[in-house]
Amino acid sequence: MSARDVVITGIGLVSCLGEGPDTHWAALTSENAEPIVDSERFAPYTVHPLPAMDWNLQIAKRGDQRQMETWQRLGTYCAGLALDDAGIKGDEALCASMDMVVAAGGGERDEAVDADILAASTARNDREVLLNEKLTTDLRPTLFLAQLSNLLAGNISIVHKVTGSSRTFMGEEGAGVAAVETAAARIRSGQSNHVLVGGSFQTEHSDMLLGYELGGFLHRGPWKPVWQRAASEGGGVVTGSGGAFLVLESRDHAEKRGRAGYAKIDSIVSDRIKRSKTHLEAGIAKLLEGANLPSGQLLALSGASGAHAATAAEKAALESLSGIAVRGFGSRTGHLKEAQFPFAVALAAMAVQRGSGYPAFDSAVEKAYAGAPEQALATAIGYHVFEGAALLSRAA
């Protein structure tokens, strides 16, 4: 143990399963639960939708809520949950000295305005002039900020008063990996004492689905668990709306506040495997070697997206390590993009803290796990690029 150990002292979660660690634990440990999906609204795509939200619980001012699109609101909400969970929310001094790294996408455009422009474009040859004409008159002035990547962090500063520093990383799952990795490295080296880190993704918007489908990544047809989509139509990814924020602290800082924490982050590894040149499975195996995995039984919370190539490679790499019991939580929450890695880390931390594993999310594929985890692995292998994993252990 060291004073500069990185411990997780707060978790804020939202997914189709509900909100908060306890609700997620209950939902994820109930066996044979039916998936919560909506296959109608965005057909032929299935999504795991947001649960009913009362935004007022974490974003007190209606005026603030109106300045954000759903993705920002969701992230700001999750950040509030994490701060609450860590006992930091409302503590002016702790928030003012807290650093922040947010993994963000963005671009929740006004679908009605865009559809109107597209419809008009069929009758016009001067499409660029049409754009100027329509965008100048139809865009809401505040929309730009409400969909802008770094304004999730900006809103967290405004609503929750976290102002030590504010950095936004972009780049799909890799952004989430780099955000947690950077936050942990800052704490370990003494550059930060406590950091708010996480992300959110709101998939119920045509452009958010399009981001995947431009590369043919989305699963079509009847819903299936994340490991069983290879033979189905489409690319295998089923997305979800949700978010995950973590409060990371140095052990010293947490103990002085009387906080034990969920878990300690032992190691985080990340890479940019050259998938066109390297065998992805071998690359993932090499990446995991760097995480100093323990021998024997190990619970692994996998962020596998369902994307055919990446998911098959991850499955093979994990299965080649004897004793690993994999839990692909994407089967329950859908793929949360930038939030996927923070979400995986949160679920791993909860298992370690409770000393209990999750039942198989897909009993046809995932092995039973009956142990009391001392450690747990979290992974996020990008559907297209970038890879990361974290090994967590008991906080004390």
């Binding site: 455009r109 405004i158 030590g164 972009m170 890799g174 080296s189 050259k274």
Partner: protein
């Protein structure tokens, strides 16, 4: 304290390579010559029609191969061009750089031309269904890549052989400075001997222009583009949207000296502080910007007397310039009247995600050559801003240290301190 560590015992971080592109040209030689001559790169927009637009001028980079191909391809080419120059100067390998990559770049969105073309090719009962149907049938990943936030950094990482997972970041108009800060911090942590920090922005599309117009942030001085950006002037009326890039090769001073590299300057301090007041406006007392400047000075181990010149954020908006003056005069007190301050944006406009990196690069050239670039268009001084803005004409001066400010929407405040190599 060895000669390779700073006042806190951390590795000193040297700059060994600089590259840049702005509306003034490609490469630091042309840029520096133009900037110190007080030349403006602001022009009437020719890239797309300007019908219906309130602002019809910009500092676009219109002379690259991908200048008319959309924001993603242009941002990549800007970053690539600057990186080739910077790594080339450093003498390190152009395809096996061997350190991490930090890229400040604008958030990506599907280009309107692609959106329209998918809509016209697709079948379905509404716009979203039509576009998705056509998207599924795309023969290559080219369009997909333009709309992935991590793609540009991924391609740069592949080309230059940077190490590990590349980080793409946005702190709005402070992004370029944050990219440098992340590199400095990684070297200080001992994770890397070198890092490649790039700020690049080729996103001056019609929609970007309209978005900033709707926030009343842009100058509408369409009749006289070169005169439109006038930081610290009484009649300033907004910033001028612009494009550009800069790349810095950062190295621990020890490893740079060990391989005999030329040291262009030291990245001595970084400071930041978020503002919780408003999405676009600063806290009226300026306390976050003040705290960011003070944090940068403290990080650099300097007091208020330690800064020879301030490379201002100086956007030419009524709000920014007023608040920047308030912050600087609060930190530096009476001495602020004597410290030269200039805004590169008076000539190159506001290059958004790239600005912090470009201005850091110019700051290092200022130290190297002992020449302070001017603030041009300073014809009607704002009497409320009592500063030496190096009006209209460059000035020779011995500049040992520079403070470079970057402030952005979303409460972002990041300041860098650069210095001469210690002797």
């Amino acid at each position: 304290m060895s000669s390779y560590t700073d006042h806190l015992g951390r590795p000193l971080v040297a700059v060994t390579g600089i590259g840049m592109v702005t509306s003034l040209g490609v490469g630091k030689q042309d840029n520096w010559e133009a900037l110190t001559s007080g030349r403006s790169g602001i022009r009437k927009i020719t890239r797309f029609p300007v019908d219906h637009l309130n602002t019809q001028i910009s500092g676009m980079v219109d002379f690259l191969t991908s200048s008319s191909q959309g924001a993603s391809p242009l941002t990549f080419e800007l970053a690539d061009t600057a990186a080739v120059e910077a790594i080339g100067e450093s003498g390190l390998s152009l395809d096996d750089f061997g350190g991490p990559l930090y890229l400040a770049s604008p958030p990506v969105e599907l280009d309107w031309r692609d959106r329209m073309s998918l809509y016209h090719d697709g079948k379905g009962e509404n716009a979203a269904a039509r576009i998705a149907q056509a998207a599924r049938s795309l023969p290559t990943l080219d369009v997909f890549e333009t709309a992935q936030f991590g793609s540009i950094a991924d391609r740069l990482a592949e080309k230059f052989g940077t190490r590990g997972l590349p980080i793409t970041l946005s702190t709005a108009c402070a992004s370029g400075a944050t990219a440098i800060q992340l590199g400095v911090e990684a070297i200080r942590r001992g994770e890397a001997d070198r890092a490649l920090s790039i700020g690049a922005d080729g996103s001056a599309t019609a929609e970007a222009l309209i978005r900033f117009s709707l926030l009343s942030a842009l100058s509408t001085n369409n009749g006289d583009p070169e005169k439109a950006s006038k930081p610290f002037s009484k009649d300033r009326d907004g910033f001028v949207l612009a494009e550009g890039s800069a790349a810095l090769v950062l190295e621990s001073l020890e490893s740079a000296v060990a391989r005999g590299a030329t040291i262009l300057g030291i990245l001595q301090g970084c400071g930041e502080r978020a503002d919780d007041f408003h999405r676009t406006r600063s806290k009226p007392d300026g306390s976050p910007a003040i705290a960011a400047v003070r944090a940068a000075l403290a990080d650099a181990g300097l007091d208020e007397d330690g800064i020879s010149y301030v490379n201002a954020h100086g956007t030419s908006t009524p709000e920014n310039d007023k608040m920047e003056h308030l912050s600087l005069s609060t930190v530096f007190g009476e001495r602020m009247r004597k410290i030269p301050v200039s805004s590169n944006k008076s000539m190159i406009g506001h290059t958004l995600s790239a600005a912090g990196a470009i201005e850091a690069a110019f700051s290092l050239l200022t130290i190297r050559d002992g020449v302070i670039p001017p603030t041009i268009n300073y014809d009607h001084p704002d009497p409320a801003i009592d500063m030496d803005v190096v009006p209209n004409v460059k000035r020779s001066a011995d500049v040992a240290t520079v403070l470079s400010n970057s402030f952005g929407f979303g409460g972002q405040n990041t300041c860098l301190v650069m210095a001469r190599e210690p002797r």
